[in-house]
């Protein structure tokens, strides 16, 4: 794969998205540990780089479909932090009026179309979004996120095949964090690389270091260009690691200590920050400014969520059908 180094402005924009994701995640976990919030929360700490480096290349018109571990994808695509936090808190001011929660985040005005709690289900739906775009002759692309474990479910294979035969403008992004719940990659996945599976469907499959923003950026750039040009789908496998277990409360005993320690040592967030400063894409002061602005944003989001009202019980009857039925 040819690497493209984006300009400093873009590199800093990636940093800004990563910071938003990381700070929000740290704060959600803090709020849970302090007992202020209770939910099934699937942290994506450690995976920030992937949606950040992809989303800087997308517009609000482009579509995103993601999974329960998808807060990072949604924030990077533009879901406003206030609406996210209120939704996580189950408040009526949340993006889904408190009816979806962390596993069903939706915000169509930024292209955040569907979040699913079902492993693999993001991919067929992404094909339909791609089909819509193709039939309308639009230039939009659809990004479908999923995990390494999801590459073993039928939906993955049906979708890659369907997208290939119909040449759909879909980018399949496998965020390989090396575990599916408690199951290590090689226990559940036959292929040495998930990206190799693309060959079965006659589409490009690219394996990248998902903790390297430039690698993810480059792979996404080529896949997006291909999709916009009507040349069809691409499978990107971005190898990464999740630091906070499958969901909050999972202590991760099944992860060998040495592997975990190595992953933490290579935490992509501080590493990228240092790299930006070292290579003079940004000064430490500039990045401190970004951090402070994001901290304020999250302060506001949390305050908004906490002070918002819970949905009224009548809402259980609304939005089931367009018109309520007896």
């Amino acid at each position: 794969m040819v690497m493209t180094q984006p300009d400093s402005k873009t590199l800093v924009a990636i940093y800004e998205k990563m910071t938003l994701i990381k700070h929000s995640d740290d704060r959600v976990i803090g709020a849970m540990k302090a007992g202020r919030m209770v939910m099934p929360y699937y942290s994506a700490r450690g995976q920030e780089c992937i949606p950040a480096a992809i989303s800087v290349q997308l517009t609000d018109e482009d579509y995103l479909v993601t999974i329960y571990r998808g807060v990072h994808d949604m924030l990077a695509k533009g879901l406003p932090p206030k609406l996210l936090w209120a939704e996580l808190a189950g408040k009526v001011t949340g993006s889904c009026k408190g009816k979806g929660g962390p596993m069903h985040l939706t915000y169509p005005s930024k292209g955040c179309m569907v979040t699913t709690g079902i492993v693999g289900a993001s991919m067929p739906i992404a094909c339909g979004l791609g089909l819509a775009t193709q039939l309308r002759g639009e230039k939009r692309v659809t990004v479908a996120n999923f995990g390494d474990g999801a590459s073993n479910i039928g939906a993955f294979h049906e979708s890659l095949n369907l997208a290939a035969v119909w040449k759909l403008p879909v980018i399949f992004v496998c965020q390989n964090n090396q575990y599916a719940e408690h199951t290590a990659y090689s226990t559940g996945t036959s292929a040495a690389k998930i990206s190799d599976r693309a060959a079965s469907y006659g589409i490009p499959g690219v394996h990248v270091d998902g903790n390297d923003p430039i690698a993810v950026y480059s792979a996404a750039q080529q896949a997006i260009a291909r999709a916009r040009a009507g040349e069809g789908p691409t499978l990107i496998e971005a190898k990464t690691f999740r630091f906070n277990g499958h969901l909050i409360g999972d202590a991760g005993e099944y992860i060998p200590k040495a592997i975990y320690a190595e992953a933490v040592k290579n935490d992509p967030y501080p590493r990228y920050r240092n790299w930006l400063v070292e290579h003079q894409h940004a000064s430490a002061t500039q990045l401190d400014g970004i951090d402070a602005a994001i901290k304020t944003l999250i302060d506001e989001a949390e305050a908004f969520a906490m002070s918002s009202a819970a949905p009224d019980a009548i809402e259980v009857k609304r939005d089931v059908y367009a018109t309520e039925i007896a």
């Binding site: 993006s95 009816k99 289900a121 067929p124 739906i125 094909c127 979004l129 039939l135 369907l162």
Partner: protein
């Protein structure tokens, strides 16, 4: 839900007085596609090069509408999911699942996604799609190609279930299902495809959720839908000769159920029999019986009777297949029992 009178197509003038369900549904798809460019159709073998569908309901459509009509790979999960995705951004996909049992391989997209996205997104998205499928016993297709599974979908809030019994209803209900803002499962019966019936008036939509009084009567209300509407009328006529006057109601839409029409009728007759081909236990008959008892317990002259198939997989051998399905004699006995 209002009865809409769209423009009449020129074909209406020379339409034959009797047509079968296949012709009626083909017209419905054709008219819906010409009325709204957001209507798209896909499924296995439904485009003309692949034969226009196994019973040819989509015959001619791909030739007329090009890439809006597509044959898919054998990937129910993939293409039903694709219909969900396209519907979320404003298309009105009509997908065909070749036989009803095959919904089992794509239930996730139907019950976890199509049915729930409106609610889970707080109304930000919705899924205006139709799944057409067909089924029915009596063809020696055995256990995996004959089931009536409507209760699965009725039991999933967010989905509507339509089950027409005749060509004219088939046309008008399919047009309404396509226009409906929510996902609709449209279940066709193999037995009904080739039975001629009154030709639909093209452009005339039949609202979902409205039952049809097929035969007015005063003694007992007999409620059916889909295939059972082929069985109930002859039994009702036979009983009429013995002075038993059945009011026959065709539900047409199973979910939402037209309780107003049903309760008005049962209030009058004081007796009700529900008839369906699906197996008996935990089915639509149970729900209907319960609703009637809840609403009219004190006014009923007899308990509500259910006539349905055996609680077994659909068998292969003809005598077993006949034993599986209810008989006209059982139906007659159930009606007489309410009058005993």
């Amino acid at each position: 839900m209002s009865e809409t009178q769209a423009e009449l197509s020129p074909a209406a003038a020379k339409a034959p007085a009797k047509v079968n369900m296949i012709q009626a549904l083909n017209w419905a798809l054709d008219d819906a596609m010409s009325a709204d460019k957001n209507v798209i159709v896909f499924g296995e073998e439904i485009a003309d090069p692949e034969g226009g569908g196994i019973v040819k309901i989509s015959h001619g459509l791909s030739t007329k509408y090009g890439s809006r009509v597509r044959s898919t790979p054998i990937s129910e999960m993939g293409f039903v999911g694709a219909a969900v995705g396209a519907a979320v951004v404003g298309f009105k996909p009509v997908v065909e699942i070749m036989l009803m049992n095959f919904v089992a391989v794509c239930m996730d997209q139907i019950t976890n996604h199509a049915a729930k996205l409106r609610f889970m997104s707080g109304g930000q998205t919705h899924v205006p799609m139709v799944i057409r499928t067909m089924t029915g016993s009596g063809f020696q297709n055995g256990g995996q190609h004959s089931d009536f599974l409507e209760a699965w979908f009725c039991h999933t809030p967010g989905i509507k279930v339509v089950m027409p019994s005749n060509p004219a209803d088939g046309y008008g209900l399919l047009r309404s299902a396509i226009n409906d803002p929510d996902p609709v499962i449209f279940i066709e019966h193999l037995n009904n495809y080739w039975t001629p019936g009154d030709a639909p008036e093209r452009g005339k939509l039949i609202p979902l959720g409205k039952a049809r009084i097929h035969r007015p009567g005063k003694d007992v209300t007999v409620i059916g839908y889909s295939r059972s509407m082929l069985d109930i009328p002859p039994v009702a006529e036979k009983l009429a000769k013995d002075g038993i006057d059945c009011e026959v109601i065709d539900l047409r839409t199973v979910q939402p159920m037209d309780m107003e029409t049903i309760l008005t009728s049962v209030k009058k007759t004081g007796r009700a029999v529900v008839v369906h081909e699906a197996c008996r236990s935990f089915g639509v008959g149970a729900e209907l019986s319960s609703r009637i008892h809840e609403a009219l317990f004190r006014e009923l002259k007899a308990p509500v009777e259910r006539v349905a198939s055996e609680d077994s997989p659909v068998p292969y051998a003809p005598p077993l297949e006949q034993a599986f399905l209810y008989t006209h004699a059982e139906l007659e006995a159930a009606i007489r029992k309410t009058l005993a």
